[in-house]
């Protein structure tokens, strides 16, 4: 009986938990990001987070990658809100297990 209760509590906790990034980089697909002059607002907003280690912006692929410091996490909704505050629309957001530089290098090879 105790095991069943424990299992139910764990399951309920998983359902209620916010979408925290378990990995070190949050990758965002952004609509409207056509000009560096305007898009720099996204970089500044994301770099201002205390958890941020690095930010990578790619206008051609319309992506922004926020690499987090070791052991840090940020709710995906927080990143999404910052991008929206900078004036852009998020079409997709996910946590990935690559650094910002690895994402940059990967795009460079394509």
């Amino acid at each position: 009986m105790k095991k069943i209760i424990l299992f139910m509590l764990l399951a309920a906790n998983l359902v209620a938990a916010p979408a925290y990034a378990a990995t070190q980089t949050i990758k965002v697909d952004v609509n409207g990001m056509v000009c560096a002059f305007c898009a720099q607002g996204i970089e500044k907003k994301l770099r201002a987070m205390p958890q941020t280690k690095d930010v990578y912006v790619n206008l051609k692929r319309k992506i922004v990658a926020v690499e987090l410091k070791e052991g840090q996490s940020v709710p995906l909704d927080t990143v999404k809100a910052l991008v929206n505050d900078a004036g852009y629309d998020v079409t997709h957001i996910e946590a990935v297990g690559q650094t910002a530089q690895e994402i940059k290098a990967g795009i460079g090879k394509e």
């Binding site: 056509v34 000009c35 206008l59 004036g87």
Partner: protein, 224 residues
């Protein structure tokens, strides 16, 4: 110079001290939330310096200092005003962005006529709107602004279009060719046409050109 006149010049001084310069209807007239934007539009007959702060993602308050001169160089107007900028709507798509803006200002206009020697000070208001559309290679903007005071109508209209010579990445300087046509009522009977070279590097935006009256133009914008 009276204290009032010094206070009247303060916005321009602040903008200059902030490393600024000014321009209207060049690109987005405000930055992202919690950012400062300085702008300049500099030429012999029209000079404008402005500074604004984005209180939200869609609202900015600022100060503006403008100088206007008629083609015959006889009439001049100095305007110092407080401005409000509102992003009415933004359309974001995968490869483009379009914006509809509302801008307004209220302040003091000081006019002077060299022939008559008459100088007057009046309250001026300056509502306007701007639409712009941009991709990574193409730019278009249309703007209209009313500069009105008792006995004064210096309405302003401009259309600009341009293209980037090539696509660049986020950290690179992007060169553009931009052609602007603008008219200023009661200041000039001519449509001013100015081809310009535009350079953008992150928060820095510079345009330079020579208009169809062989006068230099320099536009400048900086976000911080």
């Amino acid at each position: 110079m009276t204290i009032f006149r010094i206070v009247r010049r303060l916005p321009a001084c602040l903008a200059l001290l902030a490393g600024s310069a000014a321009l209207s209807a060049t690109a987005a007239p405000m930055g992202y939330k919690d950012s400062w934007m300085t702008m300049a539009d500099l030429g012999p007959n029209w000079r404008e310096l402005s500074l604004n702060y984005a209180l939200t993602a869609t609202d900015a308050l600022g100060v503006d200092e403008a100088y206007m001169r008629s083609d015959d160089k006889q009439s001049t107007l100095d305007l110092s005003d407080l401005t409000y900028t509102r992003l009415l709507h933004r359309w974001n798509s995968a490869d483009a962005q379009a914006n509809l803006w509302f801008v307004t200002g209220i302040g003091e206009a000081w006019t002077h006529n060299r022939v008559t020697g008459i100088s007057e000070t009046r309250t001026m208001w300056s509502p306007g709107t701007q639409f712009d559309y941009e991709t990574r290679r193409v730019y278009f903007a249309a703007a209209a602004r009313l500069y009105r005071a008792t006995g004064i109508d210096h309405d302003y209209g401009s259309v600009r279009g341009g293209f980037s010579f090539y696509e660049t990445e986020y950290d690179e300087t992007q060169p553009w060719f931009v052609l602007e046509a603008r008219r200023m009522h009661d200041l000039s009977d001519k449509t001013e046409i100015t081809p310009m070279l535009r350079l953008i590097n992150k928060g820095l935006f510079i345009e330079a050109g020579v208009n169809n009256s062989h006068q230099p133009r320099l536009n400048f914008m900086y976000i911080f």
